[in-house]
């Protein structure tokens, strides 16, 4: 380790050091307020360090982690999502008995795992990041001490995510057996000395991508998603839908970029089928839902399906940086709108309630009872639909442009059909919210100031980036190294 390594690793060291600090803090002085403040401070320091380092040239740390603009952008996204989750969770868990300090500790730990995946350049780093993220998430999902749904969701996630992790691991072992290396750049280089053992190599890639498809909850590996999203506490669901998916996607995209695995026809065909199935299946199944959390779960399946267009474009386009740009812009939009939607569910719920405000009846007439919440929810849903002047439109526009450039018409048709179906169920929630009357039987918890403040900021940025996206796009372009933004 040399000085430059430590400089490049500064955001990671800040988070890791912060975790130790939080752990000591929680054992000596229990105070939720102090814990929340320290969590936000640690995350903000790390975000600042990410911002300082974003212009630096790419730095490879002993083949293990590759710290560059790509990793920095994803890290910034993950840290911001973690801050939002922490603030939302504070109001959500208020009034709940028992210890809640460890929640923030686990949240920061999960963020560290996601950040590791964003910079992973070696299968061991992927394994470490993925498991730090997943194991923290098992506990976060089952954090509540009462009630059956969180426990059931945590157990389901533990078993199924464990199976997916081991599938990925077995794939990695087969790839290692076939090529003799675990480093991405060596897997990618054509002049790497060892001849590939094709059968093992393909089987390994297949298993690896099966595990990834599960983690990204692509149809037909999506069965766990609605159950876990429904059972998990609302703020954790938001985190699960954004950071956990984003981290896996960051790894897959980097892996595809460096190793050129999508040039193998079988792999790209299978991914194409998954993408089309996810776009159509996710949207069609969302039509049947009367539970807002499940509805958003299916919608997130469809959105990751859209995102696969950018991933598949890596194997098609001559300039793969365009695909990276589209992915990151899309993910920024997806993070914002998903956090906003789950944030509204969080603000309307409390962990002392039997279940979260997830039944669609809880939203009847929300405009007349909680106008601000309803406006933010409407903005988020319009953005998820992809209505112009929201960030969802910019994001989807980018995907369509990328897909058109790569001539991937089947995927674009699926996207258009899927989006058309999606209009129906997003609008249904909006219509329910403007209906008069109803909801009297439903009592929402008192207003949470910090949660609402966060939501207002996200809601405004949904509109701001939708109306005036060029600063965001320029920033993404300059960070990943596209000249002349």
């Amino acid at each position: 380790m040399i000085k430059q390594d430590f400089v490049a690793l500064a955001p990671y060291l800040a988070v890791a050091g912060g975790i130790v600090l939080l752990m000591l803090l929680v054992s000596f002085w229990r105070s939720v307020r102090v814990m929340l403040t320290m969590t936000v401070v640690v995350l903000l320091v790390s975000l600042g360090l990410v911002g300082v380092g974003i212009g630096n040239p790419p730095h490879l740390i002993s083949g293990f982690l590759l710290i560059d603009g790509y990793a920095a952008l994803f890290n910034a996204l993950f840290i911001i999502a973690a801050i939002v989750t922490a603030l939302l969770a504070y109001g959500y868990m208020r009034g709940r008995g028992g210890e809640q300090e460890e929640f923030y500790l686990l949240l920061v730990l999960a963020t560290l795992g996601a950040m590791t995946m964003a910079a992973a350049h070696h299968f061991a780093a992927v394994l470490l990041g993925l498991e730090i993220l997943s194991i923290s998430l098992y506990v976060l999902i089952g954090y509540s001490e009462e009630g059956h749904p969180p426990l059931e969701a945590a157990l389901k996630y533990l078993v199924l995510s464990g199976v997916a992790s081991t599938t990925m691991l077995f794939g990695m072992a087969l790839i290692y057996n076939a090529t003799g290396t675990l480093v991405f750049s060596e897997l990618g280089s054509t002049d790497f000395a060892v001849p590939r053992d094709e059968l093992y190599y393909l089987a390994g890639q297949g298993l690896l991508f099966a595990g990834i498809a599960f983690k990204l909850s692509l149809v037909p590996f999506h069965m766990w998603t609605p159950d876990v999203y429904q059972g998990a506490p609302a703020p954790v669901t938001g985190f699960l839908a954004t950071v956990s998916k984003g981290a896996v996607f960051a790894f897959v995209l980097r892996y595809a970029l460096i190793t050129d695995v999508l040039a193998i026809p079988v792999m790209s065909t299978v991914l194409l089928v998954f993408a089309v199935l996810s776009m159509l299946g996710g949207n069609l199944l969302a039509l049947l839902q009367n539970n807002v959390k499940r509805l958003l779960a299916y919608s997130s399946i469809a959105h990751i399906g859209y995102l696969l267009i950018a991933l598949l474009a890596v194997g098609v386009l001559a300039d793969s940086l365009i695909a990276v740009e589209a992915s990151i812009v899309y993910l920024v939009g997806y993070f914002l709108m998903t956090l906003a939607a789950f944030g509204v569910v969080t603000v309307l719920s409390s962990s002392s309630m039997e279940v979260d405000a997830e039944s669609i009846d809880a939203y009847t007439g929300l405009f007349w009872r909680r106008p601000l919440c309803a406006v933010i929810m409407t903005t988020a849903l319009l953005s998820l639909t992809g209505i112009p002047l929201t960030v969802g439109f910019v994001a989807k526009f980018y995907l369509i442009a990328t897909g058109a450039e790569g001539g991937m018409w089947l995927l674009l048709w699926a996207l258009v059909v899927g989006s058309a179906i999606a209009v129906y169920y997003y609008m249904r929630v909006i219509f329910v919210m403007v209906q008069k009357g109803g909801g009297d039987s439903y009592t929402h918890p008192s207003v949470k100031v910090e949660g609402m403040a966060v939501l207002v900021v996200i809601g405004l940025s949904l509109i701001l980036f939708g109306v005036y996206p060029s600063p965001l796009i320029d920033f993404v372009r300059s960070s990943i190294g596209i000249a002349g933004g």
Binding site: L128, Y138, V139, G142, L158, T166, F170, Y176
Partner: protein, 105 residues
């Protein structure tokens, strides 16, 4: 020193794949949560075995290092899993995973 593999690599990989499938089948058919965790453990160890034999093929320590990673991760996963099992036992008074299936729709 000569490479000390007397057993062909394919045989060990077949063994690892068999272990992996046994674990996977266990996850599918077993209903007791403790057995589910044990099946997961078998799958993890199958991965570890595959890594070790691949490392031996290339005469590198990487495979064994990965195995050590896998071991520690399996321990962490089981620790959390056992914690959840304690909660399951406390709330449902038994360990049948099928009973915990209220989330549908």
């Amino acid at each position: 020193m000569q490479t000390a593999i007397a057993v062909p690599i394919e045989h060990v990989l077949v063994l690892a794949a068999a272990l992996f499938l046994i674990g996977f089948t266990g996850v599918l058919v077993r209903r007791n949560v403790i057995f589910l965790l044990m099946s997961l453990e078998i799958m993890m160890n199958a991965c570890g075995l595959a890594f070790v034999v691949a490392g031996a093929r290339w005469i590198e320590p990487d495979g064994q290092i990965m195995y050590m990673f896998i071991l520690s991760l399996a321990a962490a996963e089981v620790a959390v899993g056992l914690g959840l099992i304690l909660q399951l036992e406390r709330r449902y008074r038994h360990l049948d995973i099928d009973a915990a299936s209220e989330l549908t729709g």
